[in-house]
Amino acid sequence: MLRIAIIGCGKIADQHVLAVARIPNCQIVAVCDREVLMARQLGERFGIPDAFSDVGEMLKAVKPDVVHITTPPQSHFSLARQCFEAGCHVYLEKPFTVTADEAEQLIRLAEASRLKLTAGHNLQFTPEMLEMRQWVRNGFLGGKPLHLESHFPYSLADVTYIGPVLGSKNHWVRKLPGQLLHNILSHPIAKLAEFLDDELDEITARAYQSPRLRELGGQEILDELRVMIRDRSGTTAYLCFSTQIRPGINQFRIFGPNNSMLVDHGSGCVVCHSNRPNKSYLAFFLPPFHMAREHFRCGCRNIKGFLTRRLHQDSGMKELIERLYASILADGPPPLPYREILLTARIMDQIFAQIYHPDRSVPTEPALQPAL
């Protein structure tokens, strides 16, 4: 039985508790928050026996096997280090760290301590991403991906999140190098990092402020981002983060030399595009039916998943946590290769360096950057 603790009892902590509750052979034994009332409310709601306001005290008192850190990212590095020193494995919510340097140091610490570490890139483990990976492993693409596209939406309609961010310059999101983008961008970038080489020849980022954010009083915050990436082997990637596009597109596209795929997180679909040349007018008749068949297959799979209780909306998080625990118990590789975590952090660093001046007042013009 793995003993689990959670540090940081804000909004995302509920999702962790609910996901852990669906995994056998583990139990949340303590929660901790600098504000003890926050820790108590979480503990009371889920029947978790101990609530602490001091991390050191908690680690000493309950000796957890795994600690989930769900605090603002500025505290991730020091808290994770403290947990490693106490001999605990760590699940670190996204964004993994504030900088790639911190990410690198943490990974080194984890390896030196022979402890497992993972990042909260839970969208990498949704059923549709697992299916896409299976197709790739089976050689559907016909070789190394030639091009990747990651589209990620964010809605400004619900002001309960963006309101406090805009309201205070001291809000923790405002103090991140990439501000609003920093808190979200690891999801779409992690998808690209999985298929890109470590050596990147080019990253070009351009960001803007949307009219809607300007209307809300967005100040220096940027919320529209476009990025082009090319790795040393020639694979290219495109990232589009938008608060304006409707309906919001949350998709990953992967293009191979033979075939391509579209992963749609919004509908939980993987649509395979096979290279089947059609003669004459058949090019107009057959492909739509092929697409319809693909969507029908996805719909059936989702219905089956729902009927068999496997279509949880946060299934990616449960899958990731379960794989982390399995890797701890079997001393196997961590669920997310450290290479991908690090590459994600490095790409984010590069993007933020390009789009924000140090004084954070004016977005920079795009420029070609040297290899990372």
Partner: protein, 367 residues
């Protein structure tokens, strides 16, 4: 709403009957909100102009500015922005304050967010009030949502003596959870640190400025409007009447530690209200759902949610069904007796004012 306000007929309390003088400083949190702006207006009507209005930095101050512009003394009102989660902001807000009307509410969907913006912010505010203010009254504006009528029979009276929700997480209602914890905290401060408090629990507050239909009338989650419990009395209170009750709760002597439910005298049934809405706003198709059917469906949903380990979250459950659609009676006897409150706007006028907003703005459908 000027036309609906009938102050000539309204029996004002004399200032000598209030616990503070007109020169004492009063703080209103959530002062730009639907009810808060009416509370500010009512205080100005009472002659209290040494007001400090606390707003979120991100708030657009349309409602508050409009309110202040209506009164000559509005220019004397101090408007400060800040975050109640910041203890420094709370200290700045509470300096030399005698009465706090605490209307700021967490409208978060998550339990943690609701707790943070209700209970934590209230804790910070009370601490600052006790440290920097001259505490004479802390008026905590809560909600009907904190009650549990799970074990009450249909048609029985729900009043201030009824039990509070004992398992808010099972109701899956973050707002009520936050309010419940906020109330518990205020009561604890009253017991341990002698905080002079009054708690108000308004029912279904309606009026111009809030065009949506309350979930107590029905829901449109499934693409068609399900009209729940047609013969139920709705715990309605018109926003101006509610604001009067809140203001009196801060001024009236001898009510420290009391809890007041706020509902108007003339309550409509859900069916009457929906019929009036359709006649005055727009017609749409609705399916009446008897309470026993709603309860059965909610029970099934709850069981499925448990069986599927939360694949569908338990948004519909028996506790919520009871709280919103069981059909209880409501009382405002305590309000009348202890605060001397009477609803200044009769239900007929209140409904006219409520429906008039759809004629001045683009009609807002119920879904």
């Amino acid at each position: 709403m000027g036309s609906a306000r009938r102050f000539a007929d309204f029996n004002f309390l004399m200032n000598s009957e209030h616990i503070v003088s007109q020169s004492d400083r009063i703080l209103v949190t959530g002062s730009n909100g639907f009810i808060g702006s009416r509370v500010v207006a009512t205080l100005l009507e009472y002659g209290y102009s040494n007001l400090r209005c606390f707003v979120r930095p991100s708030s657009r101050l349309g409602r508050l500015t409009e309110t202040l512009d209506r009164f000559p003394s509005g220019k004397d009102v101090q408007v400060i922005s800040g975050d109640l989660l910041s203890r420094d902001d709370c200290r700045n807000a509470t300096g030399n304050v005698s009465i706090i009307y605490h209307l700021a509410a967490g409208v978060e969907k998550s339990f943690a967010g609701a707790f943070m913006n209700s209970a934590l912010s209230t804790r910070n505010l009370i601490d600052a009030f006790l440290e920097c203010g001259q505490p004479k009254r802390f008026v905590n504006v809560s909600s009907f949502g904190v009650y549990s009528n799970l074990n009450l029979k249909r048609g029985s009276l729900l009043d201030e003596t009824c039990p509070l929700e004992s398992a808010p997480q099972k109701r899956f209602d973050a707002y009520s959870f936050g309010k419940l914890k906020q109330d518990e905290l205020v009561i604890e401060y009253g017991a341990k640190q002698n905080l002079p408090y009054v708690i108000l629990r308004p029912g279904m507050v309606f009026g111009p400025g809030k065009p949506s239909l309350s979930g107590r009338v029905g829901i449109d989650t499934f693409g068609v409007f399900l009209h729940m419990g047609g013969s139920n009395r709705l715990p309605m209170t018109f926003v101006d009447n509610c604001a009067d009750a809140i203001v009196l709760a801060g001024l009236k002597p001898g009510v420290n530690g009391e809890v007041f439910n706020v509902v108007d005298d003339e309550l409509l049934t859900s069916r009457q209200f929906l019929r009036a809405y359709k006649q005055n706003v727009r017609r749409f198709f609705s399916v009446p759902v008897p309470y026993f059917v709603a309860r059965g469906m909610c029970g099934l949903w709850e069981r499925y949610s448990r069986w599927s380990e939360g694949q569908l979250p338990p948004v519909f459950n028996r506790r919520r069904c009871s709280a919103e659609w069981k059909g209880n009676r409501f009382s405002n006897r305590k309000l009348h007796e202890k605060l001397g409150w009477t609803p200044r706007v009769p239900m007929r006028e209140a409904l006219i004012a409520f429906f008039s907003q759809y004629q001045t703005a683009a009609a807002v459908p119920p879904r």
